[in-house]
């Protein structure tokens, strides 16, 4: 082979190696990557290039039935950082120190974040506009100083505000950090309130800045719908005010519940679990609970069975156990605090249930006006003696008297007439055997003797007066509403409407009637009986002057506490409605374990019921019609008497129906007590001052609690003050139970002290 030929041959081989093998391999590889793996690789590339930012939707507003805002979302911002964009430590330190100062964070923590190797790190969430302005300023400074444009960013966010703090807390509920509803309406209607988050899809470079492509896709966030509650803020406030007072007055250990419901359509006008919690701060437990938790010590551990003396634990182990006990107690306290007792607690309805038992008997024509029920203080059922609260016995009664007396033996007889089967049928028909289906989370089931309603004679006997089976307060008021409204079991609900972002109605929550359980005639008769009870029966502490109230008291035993341990506690309740001739609103008041000594529904719950009704009914523009006796106690408004001459003023005060006391030596009235516009009882005294010196004269408020009406009036005039009377004023056995200005307070003569009256309760 010639030398040149060899060169040529080897060059051919070389060409083959380079162009065929080499380039062939390269093209094969590229074809594989671009055609076979192309789609997969492209997807991965797109995944990293597209920045998909979720744009939060604004959560809808919660309104009360009159359009008052109960919960609202306001714009706040989220500060995020792109730590990987920093170039030098000086920049990190500068930004960390500035951000720490603006946002009130620890410098070290922020500095730590600036050192992360990431393009996205949340510095602080939910900052408000003042902080936001400062962050914006800092962003400009950083850009000027270091030419870093995308190190800090602000993202839109929303924060939930509850203008009324704790009002209706158990109904409204609150939201979590992700704006999701966690309880109450916020949870139940989360779907409507949340809206649809938007998405901002942009192609970004590796630093997260937007690439200059027509590549972005903006899906607008759709703000959440608003929810209009059936709750009326005014009624809710009235309820909470009086319930809080009741809790205080009767030293109620385990909270109280009150529900106001429109009997005709099931709209909940107010629903309170007292004490509630501040919706703006739902994770802070009450001071008392906190105090109890802080007080957890060794004794508590022994008592609650965390340890026994025999364990011989070291101090450190005991400390650890205390820590465990504290955190357990804390989460327990939180769940108790959030609990909507009106729908989640079950209780023995007690004597309140007698209105249901009597309705059954009337509907089944088992009793009539001539049916007599005897009571000798107890009822002998086989070998078992079931006592009446009146151990002397009520004697012979018709059903109206039996209800007014809240006589257990009489109701055992009524129950016997109904029988087990019908009792169970009506129990179901009144809606006790199923959840009411109220639009709130956490509703409990009832707890009857057996699943199928069968029960023995003793069970039937005690069930007739509401003992030994458990229902929820919302079930009770729903049944009471049916008794009031002509027999319809309505669907209780707290939401009236869903509104779109533009205010248009998205959905009306229809008012469903589930079934008619009793006839109109029986309903009317029940209204009459219950009205009699409220006027002169055991329910008379629930009476409101000028209004036709119908109601029933209840005192039920509570044999187990929340831990299932045996206790002998009581629940005092009152359920009633008004006006009795054409019922519109029902109210149920329920105090769990009053410790003030008197735990009877008639003594504890009824006065609060009356206070609530006494304010709600005028608010609902139901006109009061006073009896003659009542009219005497009606407060009248004081006029303006200052600036007049003494003689002129005296004439006018007298013509307004008040007595006059003149203090001072002057000829012109310079001051008056009570002030113009305040309410004074008929026949009260107006003190007119004629010179400045006399104005400083004071009188001391005496103790006005524990007296009869006559005595209170006497004391008032003796001490030179006016009294405004509330509660069961017209009953001969009424005694004063509270006064709004404490004994010993120094006040101007003529000052009006409100005194509440009540009859001593009965164990009904």
């Amino acid at each position: 082979m010639g030398a040149n030929q060899r060169l040529r041959q080897r060059t051919v081989w070389l060409l083959i190696i380079i162009l065929v093998v080499g380039f062939g391999a390269v093209i094969t590889r590229l074809a594989f990557l671009q055609l076979v793996q192309g789609e997969e690789l492209q997807q991965k590339a797109v995944d990293q290039q597209l920045s998909d930012t979720t744009v939060r939707a604004k959560r809808g507003t919660i309104y009360d039935r009159n359009g008052k805002v109960l919960a609202q979302s306001a714009s706040v911002w989220q500060v995020v950082m792109s730590p990987a964009s920093f170039k030098e430590d000086v920049q990190r330190e500068y930004v960390a120190s500035e951000l720490a100062e603006i946002l009130g964070l620890e410098y070290e923590d922020v500095l730590e974040k600036t050192k992360q190797d990431t393009y996205y790190s949340v510095v602080k969430r939910k900052i408000e506009s003042a902080e936001r302005d400062k962050v914006l300023e800092l962003m400009n400074k950083v850009e000027d100083k270091y030419e870093l444009s995308s190190v800090i960013a602000l993202l839109d966010d929303y924060k939930r505000y509850y203008p009324y703090n704790s009002l209706a807390s158990s109904v409204i509920g609150f939201t979590g950090s992700e704006d999701q509803g966690l309880s109450g309406v916020e949870y139940q209607y989360n779907e409507y309130l949340t809206g649809t988050p938007g998405r901002l899809i942009t192609a970004t470079n590796a630093n997260g800045s937007i690439m200059p492509f027509d590549y972005s896709q903006n899906v607008e966030a759709i703000d959440g719908n608003s929810v209009v509650l059936t709750i009326d803020e005014t009624i809710q406030s009235i309820i909470e005010k009086h319930m809080q007072q009741g809790i205080k007055d009767y030293d109620v250990y385990n909270r109280g519940v009150a529900i106001a419901m429109d009997v005709n359509n099931g709209e909940i006008l107010g629903m309170a679990t007292i004490g509630g919690y501040n919706l703006n701060d739902p994770f802070t437990i009450s001071k008392e609970d906190q105090k109890k938790i802080n007080a957890i010590d060794r004794e508590y551990l022994l008592e609650k069975g965390y340890m026994t003396e025999e364990d011989n634990l070291t101090g450190k182990e005991v400390d650890e156990l205390i820590g465990t006990a504290k955190s357990e107690a804390e989460s327990m306290a939180l769940s108790q605090m959030w609990r909507n007792k009106a729908i989640s607690d079950t209780y023995y309805p007690g004597s309140v249930f007698k209105m249901v038992t009597l309705s059954m008997a009337l509907e089944e024509n088992e009793v009539n006006k001539k049916t007599k029920f005897g009571c000798s203080g107890y009822y002998q059922l086989y070998d078992k003696k079931i006592g009446c609260h009146n151990t002397a016995g009520h004697g012979t009664q018709n059903y109206t008297q039996a209800l007014c007396n809240s006589c257990n033996p009489a109701f055992i007889q009524i129950g016997d007439l109904i029988g087990v089967d019908r009792f169970w049928q009506y129990y179901q028909a009144f809606g006790f055997s199923e959840k009411t289906g109220i639009d709130l989370p956490g509703e409990s089931d009832d707890l009857f003797f057996t699943e199928d309603g069968s029960m023995g004679p003793v069970d039937l006997a005690v069930a007739s007066f509401g003992q030994n089976f458990s229902i929820t307060p919302i079930q009770m008021i729903t049944a009471a509403s049916a008794i009031a409204n002509g027999g319809d079991v309505v669907q209780p609900h707290v939401v009236k409407q869903i509104l779109g972002t533009d205010g248009s109605v998205v959905k009306n929550i229809s008012t469903d009637t589930k079934r008619q359980v009793i006839s109109k005639a029986v309903s009317d008769e029940m209204c009459r009986v219950l009205e009699v009870n409220a006027i002169e029966g055991t329910g008379k502490n629930g009476y409101v002057a000028g209004y036709r109230i119908a109601g029933k008291t209840g005192t039920s035993e509570k044999l187990t506490d929340s831990n299932g341990d045996f206790v002998q506690d009581y629940i005092a309740s009152y359920c009633g409605f008004a006006p009795a001739d054409n019922p519109e609103v029902a109210v149920l008041v329920f105090f769990d374990t009053p410790l003030s000594g008197n735990y009877y529904g008639s003594a504890v719950a009824a006065p609060v019921f009356a206070s609530i009704m006494g304010e709600i009914l005028p608010y609902l523009e139901l006109e009061a019609q006073y009896t003659e006796k009542e009219a005497a106690n009606i407060d009248t408004t004081a006029g303006t008497y200052t600036g007049l001459s003494v003689s002129e003023a005296t004439k006018i005060v007298n013509s307004d129906g008040f007595d006059v006391t003149i203090k001072g030596e002057g000829t012109t009235v310079v001051a008056q007590v009570p002030a113009a516009g305040s309410k004074i009882p008929q026949g009260g005294t107006v003190v007119l001052y004629t010179d400045e010196d006399s104005v400083t004269q004071k009188v001391t408020v005496p103790n006005l609690v524990g007296f009869s009406l006559y005595d209170v009036n006497y004391l008032a005039s003796y001490y030179g003050i006016n009294v405004s009377l509330t509660g069961t004023v017209n009953s001969s056995d009424s005694t004063s139970i509270s006064q709004d200005i404490a004994e010993g307070t120094s006040v101007s003569p003529g000052t009006v002290v409100t005194v509440a009256f009540s009859t001593s309760g009965v164990n009904d």
């Binding site: 060059t11 390269v26 590889r29 991965k44 630093n207």
Partner: protein, 416 residues
């Protein structure tokens, strides 16, 4: 000595040289010489010859135009974000391209035979440069550059050329003895071993690979026995094994970590190390058959680090697709083909060997570069001729192309 005398003198020397090395060549030389009488003498300082090879020249200009366009497309986001001037790399590359083309044309007029004499000198310069870089302190610990002000040249650029040149010189001079160990293997092996040792100290492994391939290639076409190549392969395996055992390969191994596994997440370190390769694969894959369109790459937006350098072809694949990539590879193939045809038709063996060596080097770099960006070879820094950004390497490349064009002037091929 006048220009004419010099010309005659070199003419004579060449004639004698060729005659005693190859009878075929000498007979052709006679023939050429006879024809040459009618034209200008060929052995002059400035050789215009039969004119430069227009197709080869066109292919170079075409590749350079495409290369600069694509380099600009790939680099402008990086230039914008990191330097603040989208045209930063374009402006510099254009400047070097213009200067480079001027050098290329100038060199094409220079009779390449002068490099016969300079080959040993240039080899010396190469060694000097390789030692010099080791003495210059470097921030990164990798010593490759000899800097002059803002500009620098990689010592290896000189080395690659010096080795091709010297082996062409040696192979043409001792062509008949190339099948012996002493003449055929020893010089090449010695040069490779010493160069490789110096490159190992830089370290610059990819250059060792290229130098190794070039050495073998030059020796192969110079006619050494295949047996020696087989022995060299065995030796190479042993050396690598030794380096492996002694841990000297650690730097290279670091760079090879995750090689071939750029798409798999093994651990954070590997994921970070394979970032560039992975994003290169994303870019290539995104291109599909037809590409996203010129200028439409997304991966160049800071995802693919330094897209103007070694990985420029990944952006080419993303923007122009497989079709575009194959078209460009075809142009490269044509360039290699044409360069080798020119070289084979060269009247003397030095021209043949030098031309084949220089054109093959382009083909080899193209293949290695694309295998790197497609994760078939470890990411070790092999640039793509005419495409990758880099002033000195572009000047060097065009200078070498000038030499091939110089060869084409005296080559016995049809001029377009």
């Amino acid at each position: 000595m006048s220009v004419d005398t010099f010309r005659r003198e070199s003419d004579r020397r060449r004639y004698e040289h060729e005659r005693h090395t190859s009878s075929v060549a000498s007979s052709r030389s006679h023939h050429e010489e006879n024809r040459g009488v009618k034209r200008k003498k060929q052995f002059s300082l400035l050789s215009i010859g039969k004119g430069l090879d227009i197709p080869f020249c066109m292919l170079i200009v075409l590749l350079l135009a495409i290369g600069i366009t694509m380099m600009f497309s790939a680099s402008y986001p990086v230039a914008f974000y990191e330097i603040g001037d989208s045209y930063y790399y374009l402006k510099r590359q254009l400047l070097f391209a213009i200067v480079g083309l001027a050098i290329m044309l100038a060199v094409s007029y220079v009779d390449y035979h002068h490099f016969h004499r300079f080959s040993v000198l240039i080899l010396g310069v190469s060694y000097f440069a390789l030692i010099l870089v080791l003495l210059i302190p470097s921030e990164t610990g990798v010593k490759r550059w000899i800097g002059i002000g803002d500009y620098g040249i990689q010592a290896s650029e000189i080395t690659k050329f010096a080795i091709v040149l010297f082996l062409a010189h040696w192979g043409s001079r001792y062509y008949d003895k190339m099948d012996t160990l002493k003449y055929g293997v020893m010089p090449g092996a010695t040069i490779f071993a010493t160069t490789a040792l110096l490159l190992l100290l830089e370290p610059h492994y990819s250059c060792i690979v290229i130098v190794g391939i070039l050495t073998v290639l030059m020796l192969f076409i110079s006619g050494i026995r295949i047996k020696w190549l087989a022995i060299a392969a065995v030796l190479l395996a042993i050396v690598i094994l030794l380096l492996w055992v002694t841990g000297l390969l650690s730097y290279a191994m670091d760079r090879m970590d995750g090689w071939g596994k750029a798409l798999e997440y093994i651990d954070e370190t590997q994921w970070q190390q394979t970032w560039q390769t992975r994003n290169s694969l994303y870019a290539i894959g995104s291109g599909g058959l037809f590409g996203l369109g010129l200028g439409q790459s997304r991966q160049k937006y800071l995802y693919l680090p330094e897209p103007q350098n070694d990985f420029v072809f990944a952006i080419v694949c993303e923007e122009l697709g497989l079709i575009g990539a194959i078209a460009i590879l075809l142009i490269f193939a044509l360039l290699v083909w044409r360069g080798i045809v020119i070289s084979l038709r060269s009247k003397d063996r030095f021209g043949k060997l030098l031309g084949i060596g220089l054109t093959s080097q382009i083909g080899i770099q193209v293949i290695l570069n694309i295998l790197v960006i497609t994760d078939w070879l470890p990411n070790t820094g092999i640039s793509l001729p005419f495409f990758s950004y880099g002033g000195s390497s572009l000047l060097m490349l065009l200078f070498q192309m000038g030499l091939v064009l110089s060869i084409s002037r005296s080559s016995n091929i049809e001029k377009a």
